[in-house]
C-alpha cells in the first residue's frame, strides 16, 4: 500500500506533494476545536493499524482504516492520516519521505471522498443502518486507495491494468476486514456517542 522511494517518477512525486499540501490545508480549516481529539485518536489508530498484517501470497498486506477516519472526520481526515503516515515513514520505514505526498493523497483522498458520500447516510437511520453504510464506506475507501496507488504507478510508467489488478486483488481481504471493522466501529459510535456525527450546532457535520 505504501509506495516506496524511487518507485515513482519525479512529476508524480511533486504533484502528489502539492496535492497533499492542498488537502492538509483544506482539512485543517474544516477541523473544529472539538474534533481535534477525535482526529488524534483516529490518526493513532491508523498508525497502529498498519502493523496488523494479513499474509497474502508472496507478500502481506496490512489494515489501513482510512475509510473509518474519513467517515468520522470528513476533510479533517487528511491531516490526521498525513500525521500517521509521516510517523510510519519515520519509525517503521514504511513508504518514504519523498513519496509522503503521494502516499498521503492515495490514502487520504479516498477517505475524504468516502466521508463526503457516506457520512450523511451513516448519520441517518438506525445505528444498524448506519453501521451497514459505514461498512460499505470502509470497503470502498480501501478499493479507491488501491486504484489511486495503481494510478500513481501508471503515471510513472507501469501498465495500469496490471498494476491495478495486482494491488486490487491482493487487498480484497483487507477490504472485507475493514468493512467489518468500520461497520462495527460505526455501530458502536452510533450507540454510545451519537453526537460524534452531529456537530455542535445540531446539524450534520
Amino acid at each position: 500500500m505504501h509506495i516506496v522511494d524511487g518507485a515513482l517518477s519525479n512529476p508524480v512525486v511533486i504533484g502528489g506533494a502539492v496535492a497533499a499540501v492542498g488537502g492538509i490545508a483544506m482539512g485543517l480549516r474544516s477541523l473544529p476545536l472539538e474534533r481535534i481529539p477525535a482526529a488524534g485518536v483516529l490518526s493513532a489508530s491508523f498508525f497502529v493499524a498498519s502493523l496488523i498484517h494479513v499474509p497474502i501470497g508472496p507478500s502481506s498486506v496490512h489494515l489501513i482504516l482510512n475509510g473509518l477516519a474519513g467517515l468520522m472526520l470528513g476533510w479533517a481526515a487528511f491531516p490526521a492520516l498525513f500525521v500517521g503516515l509521516l510517523l510510519q515513514a519515520v519509525f517503521f520505514g514504511f513508504g518514504g519521505l519523498t513519496v509522503l505526498g503521494v502516499n498521503a493523497v492515495n490514502i487520504a483522498l479516498p477517505a475524504v471522498l468516502v466521508g463526503l458520500i457516506f457520512r450523511p447516510l451513516v448519520a441517518r437511520g438506525s445505528p444498524l443502518q448506519g453501521a451497514i453504510w459505514g461498512g460499505i464506506g470502509g470497503g470502498v475507501a480501501v478499493a479507491a486507495t488501491t486504484l489511486a496507488v495503481a494510478v500513481s504507478l501508471m503515471l510513472s510508467g507501469d501498465e495500469f491494468v496490471l498494476a491495478a489488478k495486482l494491488v486490487f486483488f491482493s487487498h480484497i481481504p483487507v477490504m472485507v476486514i475493514e468493512a467489518l471493522l468500520s461497520g462495527a466501529a460505526i455501530f458502536l459510535a452510533r450507540r454510545v456517542k451519537p453526537e460524534l456525527f452531529v456537530d455542535t450546532k445540531g446539524s450534520l457535520a
Partner: protein, 190 residues
C-alpha cells in the same frame, strides 16, 4: 576464510533500508555477480525479471531470479552495475555494485578469468574443482540465507517502543494543535 569473506560482502552489500518489506542484496560470486530479492517475511521473489543498468542509466542486460529469489549476472564491463527488480504494487528492489567491486570480480586473478567454467582443473590455488566450489558456494548461500533474513527482519522490526513512541508523538502533535486552536478561540472571543 571464504565464509568470512562472503559474510563481510553480504554485510557490505547495500541493503536498501527504505524499502518496506523488500530485501535485496548483491555480492560477487566467482566471475559473476550474484544477488537475491525477496520479502522480509522470508518469501523470495521467484521468476522476477531483474534489469541491469550502468551508473548512467544505460541498460546492460537483464536476468531472472530462480525459485529461491537468487539471480546471476556476468558483468561485461567494469562499470557500476545497478540491478533493479519491480515486485509490483510499488515495491521496487534496487541494488548497486560499485565499479571497483565489479572490476575486482572481472580481473580478480588472471588465472581464474582465463579458465572457463567448463575447465575442471581450474582454481588450483584452492585445491577445489569448479564443481565442488560451486557446491560450496551453494551450501554457504543456503546457510547464510536465514542469517541475512534475520538481520533484515531485525532491521525492519517495528518494536513495541517505536509503536508507543509514535502514538505519543501523535497525541503530542494533536494536543499542540488543540492548544493552538483553543488559544486562538479564547483570544478571538476575549
Amino acid at each position: 576464510m571464504i565464509r568470512s569473506c562472503v559474510l563481510i560482502l553480504a554485510l557490505l552489500a547495500p541493503l536498501p533500508a527504505l524499502a518496506h518489506n523488500v530485501i535485496s542484496s548483491v555480492f560477487p560470486s566467482g566471475s559473476d555477480i550474484e544477488g537475491e530479492v525477496g520479502f522480509s517475511n522470508g518469501d523470495m521473489a521467484a521468476d522476477l525479471l531483474i534489469e541491469v543498468f550502468d551508473g548512467a542509466g544505460a541498460k546492460l542486460g537483464e536476468t531472472k531470479t530462480d525459485a529461491d529469489g537468487f539471480f546471476l549476472f556476468t558483468p561485461a564491463a567494469p562499470v557500476t552495475h545497478v540491478f533493479r527488480g519491480d515486485l509490483g504494487a510499488g515495491h521496487v528492489a534496487e541494488m548497486t555494485m560499485e565499479a571497483a567491486e565489479v572490476a575486482a570480480i572481472m580481473g580478480e586473478s588472471p588465472v581464474e578469468t582465463a579458465a572457463s567454467p567448463a575447465a575442471p582443473s581450474a582454481a588450483a590455488s584452492a585445491g577445489l574443482s569448479d564443481q565442488s566450489r560451486a557446491e560450496l558456494a551453494r551450501m554457504l548461500r543456503t546457510e547464510l540465507r536465514p542469517l541475512r533474513q534475520e538481520l533484515t527482519a531485525f532491521k525492519n522490526k517495528s518494536d513495541f517502543q517505536s509503536v508507543l513512541g509514535g502514538i505519543g508523538y501523535i497525541f503530542g502533535l494533536f494536543g499542540l494543535g488543540f492548544y493552538i486552536a483553543a488559544r486562538r478561540k479564547i483570544g478571538g472571543s476575549a
